[in-house]
């Protein structure tokens, strides 16, 4: 017999070792997330997946599911906090959706749509971030990095490399490249690496593929992120 947790009143079965996020995905329940991808070690840093577990805030992607948990996922308070956290990510970097190639395919943008974000709310940081166009096939635009760590994890866990790392502290946090020059062209990244394709935003783009799908016909132009995310993630792990 399965053990169960309760998410928004719905009984959800889980197996030993599963996180709340794992159990939710298996039960076709969407919990907003950006730094989480079921193919990689959970990170717990974006905090979009914050849920209330027996009254206490926990990150669904890292917190183990345990018998008897009463979990709140959709509530006005939680949605409001998720909206604000998403707005924080927007003002921290420099995100200009209309001029970004990733528009329509961007998870940050899609989560913002899902949470009905209409403005940035907070003052912009106007951070001075750079682009690294040195690599012939892969482009990095640091303006759009949200520090989800997925490229770091993908490079380590799937590609068996160490192309990316997070450096700096606090608001001066930054993505760095493992090469003597610090540039992507001198690193051992390959176009076929998982790390080159994992970015949820437009911070890591593949050159020569831009605008092959017209704006308006892209993933999140047609479907909301909860549907896309569940279809993708429960397919692999359901």
């Amino acid at each position: 017999m399965h053990k169960t947790i309760t998410i928004d009143g719905q009984e959800v079965p889980f197996e030993a070792g599963q996180t709340i996020m794992d159990a939710a995905i298996s039960a076709d329940i969407y919990i907003p997330h950006l730094c989480h991808n079921p193919d990689y070690q959970p990170h717990g840093s974006c905090k979009l997946c914050t849920v209330k577990v027996n009254g206490r805030n926990c990150s669904a992607c890292t917190f183990p599911a345990m018998e008897g948990q009463d979990i709140q996922n959709h509530s006005a308070d939680l949605e409001q906090d998720r909206l604000r956290i998403t707005q924080m990510l927007f003002v921290e970097g420099n995100h200009f959706c209309p001029s970004c190639e990733k528009t329509g395919n961007c998870q940050l943008q899609a989560v913002a749509y899902y949470l009905k974000m209409h403005d940035n709310h907070f003052p912009h940081f106007f951070a001075n971030r750079e682009m690294d166009a040195s690599h012939p096939e892969i482009l990095i635009d640091h303006n759009r990095c949200i520090f989800c760590n997925l490229c770091v994890r993908a490079s380590q866990e799937k590609d068996n490399k160490n192309v990316f790392a997070i450096s700096g502290r606090g608001i001066n946090k930054r993505l760095i490249i493992n090469s003597k020059s610090g540039q992507l062209k001198d690193s051992d990244i390959d176009i076929n690496d998982c790390a080159a394709h994992i970015c949820p935003t437009g911070a890591i783009l593949i050159k020569g593929t831009g605008y092959q799908v017209p704006i308006g016909q892209r993933i999140y132009d047609q479907q909301k992120i909860d549907e896309v995310s569940l279809a993708e993630e429960s397919k692999d792990h359901g």
């Binding site: 959970p42 717990g44 840093s45 974006c46 905090k47 979009l48 914050t50 805030n57 990150s59 890292t62 183990p64 906090d81 604000r84 956290i85 924080m88 990510l89 003002v91 921290e92 907070f122 003052p123 940081f125 949200i146 520090f147 160490n162 990316f164 790392a165 997070i166 450096s167 700096g168 502290r169 606090g170 608001i171 001066n172 946090k173 760095i176 490249i177 493992n178 003597k180």
Partner: protein
Amino acid sequence: MQAFIQTIIDKHEAAPVRLLAILRDIQAEYQHISAATIEILATALKLPRTQIISVIEFYSFLHTTPTGKYDILLSDSITDRMLGKQNLMFYFASQLKLKIGELRSDGLVSLNNTSCTGMCDQGPAGIVNGYALTRLDRPRIDAIIKLIEQHTPVKQWPAEFFAVSDNIYQAGLLLQAPIKPGDALKAHFQRGAQNTLAEIDISGLRGRGGAGFKTAMKWRFCAAEPETERYVVCNADEGEPGTFKDRVILNSYAHQVFEGMTVCASIIGAEQGFLYLRGEYLHLYEKLQAILQERRESALLGNNILNQGINFDIEIRLGCGAYICGEESALIESLEGKRGIPRNRPPYPVSQGYLNKPTVVNNVETFLASTKIAVHGGQWFADVGTEQSQGTKILSISGDCAKPGIYEYAFGVTVAQVLNDCGAYDVLGIQVGGPSGTFIDIKESQRKLAFEDLATGGSFIIFNQSRNILDIVKNFTHFFAHESCGFCTPCRVGTSLLKKQLDKITEGHGSAGDIVALEELCQLVKNNSHCGLGQTAANPILSTLQRYPERYAEKLKDISYEPGFDLDASLETARHLANRDDAGAHLTQVEED
């Protein structure tokens, strides 16, 4: 250079867990860690270069670009500011002819701010090449400048510049009648490990770092883990502004701290312990090493302790300037030679701590108390204090009072009693537990220091009526933004937004809606942050907004909204490019009705 670096690597056995120590040694020689050095280290330690760079960039005391042969930092704690630190800083910079935060062009000297150095009872304080400076004033700064310009090595500077006093004004159970080295271990071995643990349980001892987890329970959990390789860690990363009691305990009671760690080790079955000493307390390092050596020679440490067949040793690892490393899981990361990022929990350190092995992490004061309890028994401790907060608490008292220093009280003491004892008059309010604690008004002076009322790790900063509340809150809020590790969004972005929003109000650009926005942001950061830093970073604003709303309100403009930036100043680039400066090229901030 290569030969020197190799010596350092060999000294630390090319162990990646000792990366911080390696970097400290290299920086002490070359004033920074160069790109070439990073390449050598990456090869020798078999680490990706990015890991070394990311560690250097995480810690305030490590640099990838050169600092001065004389690197001077002034403590920017509120207590240092109250003692005139800002004026001294400007004086220092003008006399040295350099800009704060920069290296002088001749490469001789650099000057910058640093977070509280734990000398709040003898400030304004600073650090030169890692060593603590106390009681700074203009004559002393003049003397220091002379020594620098004459290239006099820091080792030859007058000893009084580095004098650090204990300033113990009131001693209780823990600070009175120190026990002789070995007495706690003898009592413990005679009684038996389980019986000593029972005594710790009876004592009611709770962690003295502030969180207050029951010590006996923590040790019991760790001892019950199936994994038998276990560790004991003493958290001496006392970074909470206004706290300095661990500095005094380690200066004068270190034997008893190490003995407490050894008692713990024999109960949980650990063979290796660590003292994680904050970098600001480098001046204690040699002294503590000598005490460890003395204990090894007296069979109180090392193999076969007191002929009981128990092996345990302690290594001191130094921090490098990061408040977050006081958080136990961040401390463990740092002990492993990594960035101090708090881990996801569960698992907790008692089951997966250092190197993912079961680990007990306790505060300096907790180990001192354990030693005393091992000798005198649990009841001796439990008889003092309140029902929920047994025993005594050592306070670090600073700010506006006649006798700043160390005071030990039974839990349950009133704030009024403490104020009376240290000679504080005309008091406006007290920051209890440091910036992450609570700001209370003098009207609340009958409140008690105890876990059930005002919980505290020991920081007690007194402000008199001449102080400006908003200056205090600003200092604390900037502190948290500086110390946020950056791991999670709400704290990384939120603490910087709190700083911006508070500054907007205190600088007179706020309107009514800004207070609402500030409060909303406080709750957001508090409720969603990953660890204690973010969860408490808004406390200075929240506790003062609740008590002194009028101090905030009087800063507001009458208009309904003002943008967070200076509209006219933002046009400066455009005016410059257009080469015009007429009236039409200027805008007023907001049209007043």
